[in-house]
Symmetry: C2
Subunit: 113 residues, 2 copies
DNA sequence: ATCATGCTTAGCCATGTCGCTAACTATCGC
DNA sequence: GCGATAGTTAGCGACATGGCTAAGCATGAT
């Protein structure tokens, strides 16, 4: 409801990049090291690191370091706000369609008279 | 499934801006003119025009011009790909949790033996 | 015909994004 | 300790984004 919703903006922005989405999908299978994630993308490590920090700041993944290895994992509930927003929108949009329906019905009924 | 999914990127990017989201929510109530949309935002017309064209290129709204007035309206089904993607992700994530469950069960069973 | 209205275009500025390389730190295996 | 491995930091360049002003164009009202 808040006018300023940094959370949603961060989430949507994080999801707006194909590389980040593919990293997410990869992580959905199983947690992985940074290098493992970099492999399929064909990108350099620092670039991947950057994507990971965007994902982490959006709350979509968590990372932890063990020795020299950083392991990344998804945060399943992180997508909830997105889902909620979508549901809200759909509710409003459908309400509007219903009203449009009602309007059409009314006009039709009136035209019959 | 496609590695390159410009559609989703456009959609997510369009949704990543609070101004654009508020325009969408406003349009969900009823179609509106460009000036009507600019009002609440406190932004100048050219700036709003820009946001509108981003929304339109993402397929989230349609606009049509009658005389000197451009009317904007939402495209309700435009959010479907987003919803689909979310559902896919959730499916994978849940499958992973199930597998984790199975793994835990297996370990527990083995430890009993 | 003239003027106000509603939108559009062009262009500027500050900042953000996405890729890179190069150099650095920290661990692990020997 | 030494070298290989994993990650990190710093900084660069090209381009995109989000805001603005100023000026233009088309249409509606008088």
């Amino acid at each position: 409801m808040a006018k300023h919703d940094p959370d949603l903006s961060l989430l949507f922005h994080a999801l707006a990049d194909p590389t980040r989405r593919s990293i997410l999908t990869r992580l959905a299978e199983t947690p992985a090291r940074v290098t493992d994630l970099a492999g399929p993308t064909g990108l350099r490590l620092p670039t991947v690191m950057r994507h990971l920090s965007v994902l982490e700041e959006a709350g979509l993944i968590t990372t932890s370091k063990d020795g020299r290895i950083r392991t990344c994992a998804i945060v399943p509930e992180a997508l909830d706000p997105v889902r909620t927003w979508l549901d809200e929108q759909r509710a409003i949009w459908e309400a509007r369609l219903d009203r449009l329906d009602a309007f059409v019905m009314k006009v039709m009924k009136e035209s019959e008279e």
